[in-house]
C-alpha cells in the first residue's frame, strides 16, 4: 500500500506528529499498520479519526455496557441517530450531541452549527425533523463574558432552528460557576419517518459512486474533531478561525433534497459530513459496509482554489452530505438536487480491496487499511478513583443561618437556573409546522404526529450537582427525572439518547465520575425499559480553573397514544383539587436550596428508588389515559415548594396566575419545614384534578403502591399561594412570585452590555 506526499506539503516530523495530538503509542500503531511512515494527509486522517471525539478511545468499553435492546428499538447505537418504533408504521429518530468547545470560543456559530449537525444526523436516517431541544449550561450571569456567551449561544441556536423551520420544544438552561469558560451546548433533534423509509450509512456495492451533495468545501473547521478532544486553555481562543460557519438556508434545502433522495430510492446510503468531514463520513461508511473507498479530492467542489487534499479531507464545512449510489442513478440524483437548488458531484467509488484511498490529481496521497483505520485506535482504560475532594464535598453542610422560608422560596425563584426561561424560549420558534401541543416551559414538550391521533413527548434533563456529589445516583436521577417529565404529560417513556459531558478522563476522579454515571444511567434504563439508542461523549470540558461538574444529559422520547389526552404542567382552574403523589423523606443533600440559598454544594443527593419512580410513571400515565388529570408537574430542583409555586405561576405566556390553599397535614411529620419545602426526593409529582376525580386517582396510585395525598385546592386567579403545616402558615402573592420568576434572567441580561471583550 503505497502513498506519496502531496507536492509542497510539510514533512512528517516528530513535532508535526505531536501537533496532531497523536501520542507515541498511537504513532507506532500507525507505522505498524502502514509498514511505513504516514504522509501528511494520512497523518491528518488518523489525527481526526483517532481523536477522542471520533474514536471514543477512553469510553468505548464503558459505553458498551449500556442496555440497547428492546422491542421498540429499530436502530440502536452506531448509526447517525437511534430509531424507535411508533404505532401504524411510524418511527422516531432522535439524537443529542454536544458543541461545547466551538461555543466556548465563538458562541454564535458554535451553537448554530451544533444545531445544524444534529439536524443532519436525524434527516440522514430518512426522518423529517419535527422537534429540537437543547441543554445550555453557562457560568453565572454577573460575569459579562458569560452574558456574552449566553446571548450569543441562544441567538445561534435560535437563528439556525428557526430558519430551517423546526420547532424547539424544550430544553434546560443551567448556570453554575463550573461552566465559566466551559459552556455546554447540547442540541437534540427528533424526527419522524415511515419505518420502511429508514436509511443507513453503510456503503455497499463495489463500483458504486460516492457523491458530495450540498455546500462546497472550504478551509473552515479543519481539526474541529481534535480541538474538541483537548482541554480548553488560553490558547483555545486562537482556535476561533477553525470554528465552522453555519448556513441554515442551505441546510433547509439539503434537508428537503436528502429526504427526497432517500424516499425515491435512488441512493444506497447517506451520511452527514460532520466532525472530521469527508474523512469520517467516507471511512465510517466504508467500514460499516466492509468495503474500500477511493476518494479523488481534486473532484470535490471547493470554495477557493489551491486547497490541498489534506485540507479537503479535514474540512468541517457545514451543510454537506456524502451519498453512495449506483452509477446509473447519477442523473436522477442530480435532478432531485437541482430541484432544491443544490448540486451533486461524483468524487469517488466503492472498491473491493478494503483500502481507504485518497487520490489528488492522479497521485495517491493516502492508502490505509480501511477497517483498521476506523477500529484500530488504541483503547485506554484509565484509572478511576475517588479523590479526597469528593469525600469532602459529601461531608460538607451549610454553615450559615437560613433566611425565613418565605424569603428562601423567593430567592430560589430568582436564581437563574430555576427562573422562568421565557427570555430564552421567545427566541426559539416553537410553533412552526403547526403540530405543537405543549410548548416549552413545562415538564416535557409534546407534538402531534401529523395525520395521526398520537403524539410524542420530548425532554432533556440532568442534575449535574447531584452527579458531582454522587455520580451513580446522579446518572440514575437524570434518567428518572426525564422519565418523570415525560410521564407527567401522560406519555410512556420509550428510550433515551445521552450526551455525556465530562472533564479530562485521565484524571482518576473524572473517570470515576464517568463510569459511575454511566452505570447509573444503565440501571435506570433497564428499570424503565428505555434503551440507550445512541449519543455523544464530550470530554476535556476543563480549563486551568478545573473541570465542569459531570453532566450526563439525557434526552428522552415518550409516546402518547392519544395526543388529545396530553396533560399540561400548570394549574388550570380554580377549585381543582391539589394532590401530591409519592413519598416525602426530607433529603436536603445536594439540593438547589443548599446551593442557591445557603451557598453550599454538599451532602449526598437523595437516593433514587427506581421501583417508586416506575410506579409514579405508571400512575401518571394511567390517570392521564382516563382523562382524570388537569395538570401534573414533577418535583425536582427546588423541591415541593418550588414545584407548587411553578404550578401557580403558570407557563411563560400565561394570562394569569392561580393561588392555592394547601395543608400538609401530618404527612411526613418527622420532616422539618425546611426539608419539607425544599428537599429533592425523587418519585414525586404535584397533580391537579376536578375534585370528583380525587378518589379515582388515589385508587390508581395505591394500585401502583405509591402515596397520593390530597393537599387542598387551586385558589383564585391572581390569589395567594398559601401553605399550612401544623398550624403554621406560609403565604405569598402568586403574581409577585410570577414577577420574580419572569424577571430573574431579563433583569440580569439588561444590567450591562454583554460584549466579547469581557
Amino acid at each position: 500500500m503505497v502513498a506519496e506526499p502531496f507536492p509542497g506539503e510539510r514533512a512528517v516530523t516528530d513535532a508535526v506528529v505531536r501537533e496532531h495530538k497523536l501520542n507515541e503509542l498511537e504513532y507506532e500503531a500507525i507505522q505498524r499498520m502502514l509498514g511505513r511512515a504516514p504522509t501528511l494527509t494520512e497523518l491528518g486522517i488518523f489525527s481526526a479519526l483517532w481523536s477522542e471525539h471520533c474514536s471514543y478511545k477512553h469510553t468505548k468499553p464503558v459505553l458498551r455496557r449500556f442496555p440497547t435492546e428492546g422491542a421498540q428499538v429499530v436502530q440502536g447505537p452506531g448509526e447517525n441517530a437511534g430509531v424507535l418504533r411508533l404505532p401504524d408504521g411510524w418511527a422516531v429518530a432522535f439524537k443529542i450531541e454536544s458543541h461545547n468547545h466551538p461555543s466556548a470560543v465563538e458562541p454564535y456559530q458554535g451553537a448554530a452549527t451544533g444545531v445544524g449537525g444534529i439536524l443532519r444526523d436525524v434527516f440522514t436516517m430518512g426522518a423529517r425533523p419535527v422537534a429540537l431541544l437543547n441543554s445550555l449550561r453557562l457560568g453565572p450571569l454577573d460575569d459579562p463574558r458569560n452574558r456574552y456567551l449566553f446571548s450569543g449561544i441562544v441567538k445561534g441556536v435560535g437563528d439556525y432552528g428557526n430558519c430551517v423551520g423546526v420547532p424547539t420544544l424544550g430544553g434546560e438552561v443551567v448556570f453554575s460557576s463550573c461552566y465559566s469558560g466551559n459552556p455546554l451546548v447540547n442540541a437534540m433533534a427528533v424526527g419522524l419517518l415511515r419505518e420502511s423509509d429508514l436509511a443507513t450509512a453503510r456503503a455497499d456495492g463495489v463500483g458504486n459512486v460516492l457523491l458530495t451533495v450540498g455546500a462546497s468545501t472550504g478551509r473552515d473547521g479543519i481539526h474541529g474533531a481534535s480541538f474538541a478532544s483537548e482541554d480548553l486553555t488560553a490558547e483555545s481562543e486562537k482556535r476561533r478561525p477553525q470554528v465552522q460557519v453555519g448556513d441554515p438556508f442551505t441546510e433547509k434545502l439539503l434537508l428537503e433534497a436528502s429526504l427526497e433522495l432517500i424516499q425515491s430510492g435512488v441512493i444506497v446510503a447517506i451520511q452527514d459530513m460532520g466532525a472530521a468531514g469527508l474523512t469520517s463520513s467516507s471511512a465510517e461508511m466504508a467500514a460499516r459496509g466492509g468495503v474500500g473507498v477511493e476518494v479523488d479530492t481534486s473532484l470535490v467542489p471547493t470554495r477557493e482554489p489551491g486547497m490541498t487534499p489534506y485540507e479537503i479531507m479535514l474540512s468541517e464545512s457545514q451543510e454537506r452530505m456524502l451519498v453512495v449510489a449506483e452509477p446509473g442513478q447519477i442523473d436522477a440524483i442530480r435532478a432531485i438536487c437541482h430541484k432544491w437548488d443544490l448540486d451533486a458531484t461524483p468524487v469517488g467509488r466503492v472498491t473491493d480491496d478494503g483500502v481507504f484511498k485518497v487520490i489528488h490529481e492522479g497521485r495517491v496521497v493516502a492508502a490505509i487499511p480501511g477497517q483498521e483505520l476506523v477500529d484500530g485506535c488504541p483503547m485506554y482504560a484509565p484509572p478511576a478513583a475517588e479523590s479526597p475532594a469528593m469525600r469532602a464535598r459529601r461531608d460538607a453542610r451549610p454553615n450559615v443561618t437560613a433566611p425565613p422560608l418565605t424569603q428562601s422560596l423567593e430567592l430560589l425563584l430568582d436564581a437563574p437556573t430555576l427562573a422562568s426561561k421565557r427570555w430564552v424560549f421567545e427566541q426559539f420558534d416553537s410553533t412552526v409546522r403547526g403540530d405543537s401541543v405543549i410548548l416549552p416551559g413545562g415538564d416535557a414538550g409534546v407534538i402531534r404526529v401529523s395525520g395521526t391521533d398520537f403524539g410524542i413527548a420530548v425532554t432533556v434533563d440532568c442534575n449535574a450537582r447531584h452527579t458531582l456529589l454522587d455520580p451513580f445516583e446522579g446518572g440514575k436521577g437524570a434518567v428518572a427525572e426525564a422519565a418523570r417529565n415525560v410521564a407527567c404529560t401522560g406519555a410512556r417513556p420509550l428510550g433515551i439518547t445521552d450526551c455525556l459531558n465530562f472533564g479530562n478522563p485521565r484524571v482518576p476522579e473524572i473517570f470515576l465520575q464517568f463510569t459511575e454515571a454511566c452505570r447509573g444511567i444503565s440501571e435506570a434504563c433497564v428499570a424503565f425499559n428505555t434503551p440507550v439508542t445512541g449519543g455523544n461523549v464530550s470530554l476535556y470540558n476543563q480549563n486551568p480553573d478545573g473541570a465542569i461538574d459531570p453532566t450526563p444529559t439525557i434526552g428522552m422520547v415518550g409516546l402518547l397514544h392519544d395526543v388529545s389526552k396530553a396533560v399540561p404542567s400548570h394549574f388550570q382552574a380554580s377549585g381543582d383539587a391539589v394532590l401530591l403523589l409519592g413519598a416525602t423523606r426530607g433529603h436536603l443533600g445536594g439540593s438547589a436550596y443548599w446551593a442557591e440559598v445557603l451557598g453550599c454544594v454538599g451532602g449526598s443527593p437523595p437516593p433514587i428508588d427506581l421501583t417508586a419512580e416506575r410506579a409514579l410513571q405508571e400512575a401518571l400515565i394511567g390517570a392521564a389515559d382516563l382523562r382524570l388529570l388537569r395538570s401534573a408537574h414533577d418535583l425536582s430542583d427546588g423541591g415541593f415548594a418550588l414545584a407548587l409555586a411553578e404550578c401557580c405561576i403558570g407557563g411563560p405566556w400565561a394570562t394569569h396566575t392561580f393561588g392555592s390553599d394547601v395543608d400538609l397535614g401530618r404527612h411526613a411529620d418527622d420532616v422539618d419545614d425546611e426539608a419539607w419545602f425544599f428537599a429533592e426526593d425523587g418519585a414525586r409529582a404535584i397533580a391537579s384534578c376536578e375534585p370528583v376525580h380525587v378518589a379515582a386517582i388515589q385508587r390508581i396510585a395505591h394500585e401502583q403502591g405509591i402515596a397520593c395525598h390530597y393537599l387542598g385546592l387551586v385558589g383564585e386567579r391572581g390569589g395567594n399561594l398559601r401553605i399550612v403545616r401544623d398550624g403554621r402558615e406560609f403565604a405569598w402573592s402568586a403574581d409577585h412570585l410570577r414577577s420574580i420568576h419572569l424577571q430573574a434572567i431579563p433583569r440580569r441580561m439588561a444590567q450591562a452590555p454583554a460584549t466579547g471583550e469581557g
Binding site: N162, C163, G165, F249, K252, V432, V437, H656
Partner: protein, 233 residues
C-alpha cells in the same frame, strides 16, 4: 369543484405544511406551487407562507419578490384575486409593492416567538369575514423582522381607509409586552385599498385545530374559502 388555493414555496419557505393543512381543514383544496412556475395553475387564491425565503439575505423578502412566480401573483392581485402573505409572505408582498410599508427588525433586536393577542380591525376582507368586529384572538408569532413601519402619510391613509386588518392588543393579566416587535400603531396586519391583498405577521395557520388546544386561527381560512365560493365552477 373545491376552491383551489396555491401555497407558494420559495427556497427557504418553511410554513407550507401548516398552511396546506389549515386550508384543507377549512374545506379547501390546497397545493404547493414552485417559485419557478410562471402561472398560478388555476388557483383561486394565493398564500405566500412563512419561512426564510432565500435565507433572508439582504432583507426579508427582498429577493423573493424577483422570483418568476411573482409576475403571476402581481397579475392575479391586479385582477382582484385574493393574495395572502403570512409572516415572511407579508414581508414579500410589501417588498413586491403589493402592500405599502415595510417590516423592520424587531425593536428589542431579538427574535419573538410567543402567543400574541390581536384584534380583528376589519371584518370585510376575504380573510376576516367570519369574525365579529373587534374580536380578539390569541395566535402565535415567530419572527425577527416584524416591526411594521410606513411613512406618516401612508399610515394616515391606512387608518382612514380601514386598511388595518389586525392590531396587537393588551389583554388583562398578560405580563409580556402586548406588541411583540414595536410595530407602528400596534399594526399586526394590513390590506390594500381594494381589500384583496392581505398581509400579517401572526400565524393563524399554526393554531387552527382543536387537537392542539385551540383553533383560534381556523376562521381566517374558513373566511378565505367562503370569499372564493363562486369564483370557480
Amino acid at each position: 369543484m373545491n376552491d383551489r388555493v396555491a401555497v407558494v414555496r420559495f427556497p427557504g419557505t418553511n410554513c407550507e405544511a401548516e398552511s396546506l393543512a389549515a386550508v384543507r381543514r377549512a374545506g379547501g383544496e390546497a397545493f404547493v406551487l414552485d417559485y419557478r412556475a410562471r402561472s398560478l395553475d388555476g388557483a383561486d387564491a394565493v398564500i405566500l407562507p412563512g419561512g426564510f425565503s432565500y435565507g433572508d439575505s439582504l432583507r426579508s423578502g427582498a429577493i423573493a419578490r424577483f422570483a418568476p412566480i411573482m409576475d403571476a401573483v402581481r397579475t392575479h392581485a391586479a385582477e382582484g384575486g385574493v393574495v395572502v402573505g403570512i409572516c415572511n409572505g407579508f414581508q414579500i408582498v410589501c417588498e413586491a409593492g403589493l402592500l405599502p410599508g415595510a417590516l423592520m427588525r424587531n425593536a428589542q433586536q431579538r427574535f419573538a416567538s410567543r402567543p400574541v393577542d390581536v384584534r380583528i380591525e376589519r371584518t370585510t376582507t376575504p380573510c376576516t369575514s367570519h369574525f365579529a368586529p373587534g374580536e380578539v384572538i390569541r395566535v402565535p408569532v415567530a419572527h425577527g423582522e416584524g416591526r411594521y413601519v410606513a411613512d406618516p402619510g401612508t399610515l394616515a391613509e391606512l387608518e382612514q381607509d380601514g386598511q388595518v386588518l389586525m392590531r396587537y392588543v393588551a389583554v388583562d393579566g398578560t405580563d409580556a409586552p402586548h406588541n411583540p416587535n414595536g410595530s407602528t400603531s400596534d399594526i399586526a396586519g394590513i390590506c390594500n385599498a381594494a381589500g384583496n391583498v392581505m398581509g400579517f405577521m401572526p400565524h393563524p395557520e399554526r393554531l387552527a385545530d382543536e387537537a392542539l388546544g385551540s383553533s383560534a386561527g381556523h376562521r381566517i381560512f374558513t373566511s378565505l374559502l367562503s370569499s372564493l365560493t363562486g369564483v370557480s365552477q
